[in-house]
C-alpha cells in the first residue's frame, strides 16, 4: 500500500481476528490513558497517582461501585440502542435529545396524569420510550422522505430538546414550591423507581437494560427481523436487490434506538432526580458518552454489558477527580474525547497490517 517515506507500509488485512480486535482495542484504550495522563501532568499531578486514586475510589470502594452502576444504567440503555443503529448505518448522535424527550414525556405523565399508583411508573416508562422513539423517528422520517442526513438532524434535535426542557421548567411546568430554582414539582413516592438501599442505583432500570441488551442480541442474530436489519445495515445494495423494505427496517430501528434513549431519560428522572430539572444536570452528556460505549461494542448489543460499565467507571472516576483533586468538571469530557479519538484511529489497525522497514 502507501509508502510513507520512512519505511512504514500498510498492507490490507483480509479479516481481523477477534484476538486482534481485542488487542487493538485495549491498545487504543491504553494509549488514551497515557494521553490523558499527560493532561494530568499539565495540572501538576502525577498521572499514576491520579489513576490509582480513580481506581481505588471506584473499584475498591462500595460507594464507588454504586456510582459506577448508577452511571452505567443510562449508558447501557442508550448504548444498546446505538449499537443497533450504528450497525444499520443510521448514525444517531441525538441520543442526548431523545433522552431528554423521554424525560419530558415521563415527567408529563407523572405531573399531570392522575393514574392509579401501580400504573404510574409503567405509564411513565411507556411515555418516555415513546418520547425518545418519536424524537428519533422524526430524524428517520426526514431521512427517508427528504434524504436529510441523520447525523445533522439528530444533532440539531438535541438543541431543540434542550430548549424544550428549559422552557417547560421555566414556564408551564415550573414547580409551585421551588422558590428561586427552576425545576418542576417533585414526583410522588410511588412515581419514583426503587433504589438499592442507601444508594441511587435504581435497579429496575438496570435490570431492564441488561434484559434488553440480551434480547436485542438475540433478535439481531437469531431472528428473521435481525437478519433483515443486518442485510440493510451491512449492504443496502443487497437489501434493494432482495426487495427488503429498507425504509421500514430503518424506521423500526430508529424507534428502538430512540426508545431506549427515552427509557434512559425515564430512569434518570424517576430513579435519581425525581423531578424534571435542567438538561445539563439531568443527563451530563450520557447521549454522547454512549456513542463510545456503542463503538466499543462493535455491533454486538450484548457486549455493551461490558463497555457501559467501563465508561461508567471513567465517568465515576472523573467525578472523583473533581472532588478530591479539584480538577475542573470538563476533565471527564477530555477523557471521553481522547478515548473516542484513539478508538476511531485504531480502526486503521484492524483493516491494515503495519510493516516496518523494507
Amino acid at each position: 500500500m502507501d509508502d510513507w517515506g520512512c519505511g512504514v507500509r500498510l498492507e490490507p488485512l483480509a479479516n481481523a481476528s477477534p484476538g486482534r480486535v481485542l488487542g487493538v482495542t485495549l491498545a487504543a484504550l491504553g494509549l488514551a490513558f497515557v494521553l490523558v495522563g499527560a493532561v494530568f501532568v499539565a495540572y501538576g499531578q502525577n498521572p499514576l497517582e491520579v489513576y490509582r486514586l480513580m481506581l481505588s475510589g471506584t473499584l475498591l470502594d462500595a460507594k464507588g461501585w454504586q456510582e459506577i452502576l448508577r452511571r452505567s444504567i443510562p449508558l447501557l440503555l442508550i448504548g444498546v440502542g446505538l449499537t443497533l443503529a450504528f450497525r444499520t448505518q443510521f448514525y444517531n448522535i441525538g441520543a442526548e435529545g431523545q433522552l431528554l424527550l423521554g424525560a419530558v414525556l415521563a415527567a408529563g405523565v407523572a405531573l399531570f396524569l392522575p393514574l392509579p399508583a401501580p400504573l404510574s411508573l409503567p405509564a411513565m416508562a411507556l411515555a418516555g420510550a415513546l418520547g425518545g422513539a418519536l424524537w428519533c423517528g422524526l430524524a428517520a422520517w426526514l431521512r427517508l422522505r427528504f434524504s436529510v442526513n441523520e447525523i445533522l438532524s439528530t444533532l440539531m434535535l438535541n438543541y431543540v430538546a434542550q430548549s424544550l426542557v428549559i422552557f417547560l421548567i421555566n414556564g408551564p411546568w415550573r414547580g409551585k414550591d421551588v422558590r428561586g430554582y427552576i425545576y418542576s414539582d417533585r414526583f410522588a413516592e410511588y412515581q419514583q423507581i426503587p433504589v438499592w438501599a442507601g444508594s441511587s442505583v435504581h435497579w429496575p432500570t438496570l435490570l431492564l437494560g441488561v434484559l434488553l441488551a440480551l434480547v436485542l442480541q438475540f433478535v439481531l442474530f437469531r431472528t428473521t427481523l435481525g437478519f433483515r436489519m443486518r442485510i440493510v445495515g451491512e449492504n443496502p445494495g443487497a437489501a434493494r436487490y432482495l426487495g427488503i423494505a429498507q425504509g421500514r427496517v430503518l424506521l423500526l430501528l430508529a424507534l428502538i434506538t430512540g426508545g431506549m434513549a427515552g427509557l434512559a431519560g425515564v430512569g434518570e428522572i424517576a430513579g435519581i432526580h425525581h423531578r424534571l430539572i435542567e438538561p445539563s444536570q439531568l443527563s451530563s452528556g450520557y447521549g454522547f458518552t454512549a456513542i463510545i460505549v456503542a463503538w466499543l461494542a462493535r455491533g454486538h448489543p450484548a457486549l455493551v454489558l461490558l463497555t457501559a460499565p467501563l465508561m461508567g467507571l471513567v465517568l465515576a472516576g472523573g467525578d472523583l477527580l473533581k472532588v478530591s483533586l479539584n480538577m475542573p468538571f470538563r476533565i471527564v469530557d477530555i477523557f471521553s474525547g481522547v478515548i473516542l479519538f484513539c478508538l476511531i484511529g485504531s480502526e486503521l489497525f484492524l483493516r491494515y497490517r503495519v510493516r516496518w522497514g523494507r
Binding site: 431472528t223 428473521t224 443486518r230 451491512e234 445494495g237 443487497a238 436487490y241 432482495l242 426487495g243
Partner: protein, 498 residues
C-alpha cells in the same frame, strides 16, 4: 540486443500466499510482451513491484544492464517505467492538459505550455486527444489514451498496460492495438497484461504465462496458440467448444412490448424495447455499458418502474417486487456481485440463504435455525464446488469466482423460469468461467429462459441462440446468432448501421 528491463528471481510473499515465486523475465526494446494469467496468478503483484508500489522480498530488477531499486512510482518513472492503470486515475473536472501537467508542469499555469507537447506526442503515435477537453467528458478509450500520453510525457521507455481492453469496445480495442504497434515501431517496450487469449495472440511478440505466482511458460508468438496458452494458464486442457445445440424453442416465458423506463438520473434509458424470450433459449444482450442494459435488467428484476409498455412473465403482468419475482421463478445474477449480489461481511451460509432466510427450514415463526443454514449451505457448497475455508467464512474473503458460485447456487436453486445473468463471468478466471457457462447451459437445457447481458462478445456468441444490441436505449434485433457477425455487433454497439 540487451534487455531493457529484466526481472531476476522476484519473490513476493503475502500472509498465507506466495504471490510471486522466483519470477524471471526480460523485455527488449521494440517488443510487446504479454503477461498472461488467471486472476490470482500474480500479475498485479508483479505490476505493483515494477511500478514501485510493492517491494520484492527477494530478487533483483535490472534496467538497461544495471541493478536498480524501485521504491516508489517516482523511481519507476525516473527509470523510464510507465504504467497505464486498468481504471484511469485522472481528475474528472480538470482538462486533459491539466491532468497531464500534474507533477511535471511549471508551478505557475502548469497546463499552459504542455498543450503543444501533448499534441506532438499524440500525433506521433496516432493518439487522438484534445488537450482542452475536460476529462469527465471522455470515453473510457479516450481516458486510456490520456494515461498513455501521460506515461510517454514522463519519458517512459517501458509501458505497462494493465488489462487495458477490459473497458473498451472491440473497435476501441482495435484502435488501442494500432497505437501499441506504433509505439513498438518507435522502439518502446510494452508489457501487456491480459487474460483474453485472442488479444494476446493478435498483439504480442512473446507471451509469458503465470500460474500461482510462477512463470509456467514463455512462448514466442509463432509457438503460441489458444489451446496451448489456455492449458498453460489453467494447468490442464480447456475446451473451447461451448457452442450450444439450438434446441427447439418452447413456450414464451417473457414478453417485453414497447418498454420505456428512466434511469436513476431520470433520463430516458429504454426507448421502446420489445422482444420475446422462450423456454430453453438464451438471449444475448450486447452493448457498451450505459446504453440501457442495467435499466432493462432492473425492470425485469422488479427494481425499476415501467414508464410505458408492457412486460409479461408467463402471460402475467410483472409484479414490481424482487421478492415476489424470485418466488415466481426469476433468478437474478446481478452485475455487481459485491455491492448487490452478496453481503460481504456475512458468512457463506448466510449469503446462500439471502433469498430464503425467512421460510422453513431456515426459519420458523420468525426464529432462525442455524443448523438448517449450515445443512442447506453444505449441500450447495458441495453441488457448486464452492471453495471456502468454512461455511462461517465471510463471503468477502472468497475469490471472485467463488463469490459468483455462491450467487449462482442461491439464485438457481429450484428450477427458475427466467434467469437474468448480468456479466456472469466478468473478472472470473477460465476455470470459473467454464463452470458458470456449464451451469447456465444446464439450466437452459432443463427449460429455463436466460437473458444474458455481457460485454464479452466471445461469450455472447458462444452461448446465445439470439443476440440483440442495445444502443441508447433502443434494441437492434434480436437476431439468430448464425446470422450476425462480430463486426456487425460492434457497429451496432457504437450506433453505426450494419
Amino acid at each position: 540486443m540487451s534487455a531493457l528491463l529484466e526481472l531476476k528471481n522476484i519473490t513476493k510473499r503475502f500472509p498465507g500466499v506466495v504471490a510471486n515465486d522466483k519470477v524471471s523475465l526480460e523485455v527488449y526494446p521494440g517488443e510487446v510482451l504479454a503477461l498472461l494469467g488467471e486472476n490470482g496468478a500474480g500479475k498485479s503483484t508483479l505490476v505493483s513491484i515494477l511500478y514501485g508500489l510493492y517491494r520484492p522480498d527477494e530478487g533483483e530488477i535490472w534496467v538497461e544492464g544495471r541493478p536498480v531499486r524501485i521504491a516508489s512510482p517516482m523511481d519507476a518513472l525516473r527509470l523510464g517505467i510507465g504504467l497505464v492503470p486498468q481504471h484511469p486515475t485522472l481528475v474528472g473536472r480538470h482538462t486533459v492538459a491539466e491532468n497531464l501537467a500534474l507533477g511535471i508542469g511549471s508551478p505557475l499555469w502548469p497546463a499552459q505550455r504542455i498543450g503543444p507537447l501533448v499534441e506532438r506526442i499524440a500525433q506521433g503515435y496516432g493518439l487522438q486527444i484534445d488537450p482542452r477537453a475536460p476529462v469527465f467528458q471522455l470515453s473510457p478509450g479516450e481516458k486510456q489514451r490520456v494515461e498513455i500520453v501521460r506515461a510517454l510525457l514522463r519519458g517512459a521507455k517501458v509501458l505497462i498496460l494493465d488489462e487495458p481492453t477490459s473497458v473498451l469496445t472491440p473497435q476501441e480495442a482495435e484502435a488501442l492495438f494500432r497505437v501499441m504497434r506504433e509505439l513498438r515501431a518507435a522502439g518502446k517496450s510494452l508489457i501487456f497484461i491480459s487474460h483474453k487469449l485472442e488479444e494476446v495472440l493478435s498483439i504480442a511478440d512473446r507471451c509469458t504465462v503465470l500460474r500461482r505466482g510462477r512463470v509456467v511458460g514463455s512462448l514466442l508468438r509463432e509457438e503460441a496458440s489458444k489451446p496451448r496458452l489456455a492449458e498453460l494458464m489453467v494447468g490442464r486442457s480447456v475446451s473451447f467448444e461451448r457452442k450450444r445445440q439450438s434446441a427447439a424453442l418452447g413456450e414464451v416465458v417473457l414478453e417485453v412490448d414497447g418498454l420505456r423506463a428512466r434511469s436513476s438520473r431520470n433520463l430516458p434509458a429504454l426507448q421502446g424495447v420489445s422482444f420475446r424470450l422462450h423456454r430453453g433459449e438464451i438471449l444475448g444482450l450486447a452493448g457498451v455499458a450505459g446504453n440501457g442494459q442495467s435499466e432493462l435488467v432492473e425492470v425485469l428484476a422488479g427494481l425499476r418502474s415501467i414508464e410505458a409498455g408492457a412486460v409479461r412473465l408467463l402471460g402475467q403482468p410483472l409484479p414490481p417486487s424482487p421478492a415476489r419475482l424470485f418466488d415466481l421463478g426469476v433468478a437474478h445474477i446481478p452485475e455487481d456481485r459485491i455491492q448487490m449480489g452478496t453481503v460481504p461481511s456475512m458468512n457463506v451460509a448466510e449469503n446462500l440463504a439471502l433469498r430464503t432466510f425467512d421460510r422453513p427450514p431456515w426459519a420458523r415463526g420468525g426464529l432462525l435455525n442455524p443448523r438448517a443454514f449450515e445443512e442447506e449451505a453444505r449441500r450447495q457448497v458441495q453441488a457448486y464446488a464452492i471453495a471456502t475455508p468454512s461455511l462461517r467464512t465471510p463471503s468477502r474473503l472468497l475469490s471472485g469466482g467463488n463469490i459468483q458460485k455462491v450467487i449462482l447456487a442461491r439464485e438457481l436453486a429450484g428450477q427458475p423460469q427466467l434467469i437474468l445473468a448480468v456479466h456472469p463471468t466478468y473478472g472470473l478466471d477460465i476455470g470459473a468461467t467454464e463452470q458458470v457457462h456449464r451451469v447456465l447451459l444446464e439450466k437452459t437445457q432443463q427449460g429455463s429462459a436466460v437473458l444474458l447481458v455481457s460485454e464479452d462478445l466471445e461469450e455472447l456468441l458462444s452461448l446465445s441462440d439470439r443476440i440483440g444490441v442495445l444502443y441508447r436505449g433502443a434494441l437492434q434485433g434480436p437476431f439468430a446468432v448464425e446470422e450476425v457477425s462480430r463486426e456487425a455487433i460492434g457497429l451496432w454497439m457504437t450506433g453505426g448501421v450494419a
